[in-house]
Amino acid sequence: MAGLDNLMAFIWRDPRANNCNTYLIDGRAPLLIDPGHSAFIENIAGRMEESGFNLPRLALAVCTHGHPDHAEGAEVLAEIPVPVAIHETEEPCLKDMARLFYTSQGQTAPEPRFDFLLREGDLMVGDNTFEVLHTPGHTPGSICLYWPAEKALFTGDLLFEEGVGRTDFPGGDALALKESVRRVQSLDIEWILPGHGEIIQGREAVRENFDFIGRFIFSTM
């Protein structure tokens, strides 16, 4: 990807391939963002192998939130083992509120093991430094990962191209989501790497997307 040489983006376009965007930042300590559904890990791993990367090399996997389309694969990674982290607010939610989410989808709630938790602050992974931003709204413990060196923001399901994450699932909070979007809007961003949909590239495109969300999406929430 031009401008983000170490980034591999597995964009969700085929429901048989994955159900969220998965990102891999390769390097001295490779980082995976949002492993996705357990059933699709094999597919993601296969695509990584085509690029000469294999899962056991991962130093860490971060889940932007606990919904199964983003975090279920944590249980597969834990078996490798690859450490998995999620926001400290999200884990207790997974154990109660998210159980409703899983059952409402006709699924059995997994019990992923998170090796450590995340809170607001710096996260150094190899040579890369990220800022963990607690951005509740889609879920109580949703996070964005900001990568200042690349001016890139991994948004999870906070916001997408011309959209924001649903807030009608258990733990969702539309007001909190709006506040979270406004918060990340103030960052210096050239790349938006969302949990679903296309990547937004360029400062102007990023600004236009925030404008669109502010004008047309927030008014419907």
Binding site: D122, M124, E131
Partner: protein, 184 residues
């Protein structure tokens, strides 16, 4: 032709000769009294009754049951079931002191030692986890380590608590021996 017997007749027939000895009867009575004292102690630990009311009820129980030392029975129950940490542990120790237990200080020391060793085990587990993550190139203020979920910590904590429990159990038994007929 068989004889038809009533249930009462059958019971009487089968329990003929089954008479409780005086000693057994006394033991049963004592167990029941001790149970009442234990219930009062549990109500105090749960916050249902304050210390003064707890002692008052124990004394009333002793008054109703001549020859029974309800305070001693409550002391033994509290010492045997002493919660090792948290507010209930402190409540139990305060109650034991009020009831004149001779081993309160030693129990406190055992609990303090346990707390200190547990804290140290947690620090060691945290350092171990931080080193493991650093070995993978992961660090930073955003990482919240969880030493309490570390299997090594859980094992160490269990051993520490077992030692404390054994020490307190010895003190409880010593207290029991100091208290005539307090055993149940």
């Amino acid at each position: 032709m068989g004889e038809i017997k009533s249930t009462l007749e059958l019971v009487m027939e089968r329990t003929r000769g089954m008479v409780q000895s005086r000693e057994e009867r006394e033991q049963d009575i004592f167990r029941e009294r001790a149970r009442k004292a234990a219930v009062l102690a549990e109500k105090h630990l749960s916050g249902e009754t304050g210390l003064a009311a707890f002692v008052e009820r124990l004394d009333a129980l002793s008054g109703r049951e001549p020859g029974f030392d309800a305070r001693a029975a409550a002391r033994l129950h509290l010492a045997r079931t002493l919660p090792l940490d948290g507010a209930e542990g402190k409540t139990a120790l305060a109650a034991l002191a009020c009831l004149g237990s001779p081993h309160v200080r030693e129990m406190e020391e055992a609990m303090e030692k346990m707390a200190g060793e547990t804290e140290e085990a947690e620090k060691q587990a945290e350092a171990r986890l931080a080193a493991e993550l650093a070995g993978r190139g992961i660090s930073g203020s955003a990482a919240v380590l969880r030493p309490r979920t570390d299997p090594g910590y859980e094992k160490a904590r269990a051993a520490i608590r077992e030692r404390a429990r054994a020490r307190i159990a010895r003190l409880a038994e010593a207290a029991g021996q100091d208290t005539p007929r307090a055993g149940y």
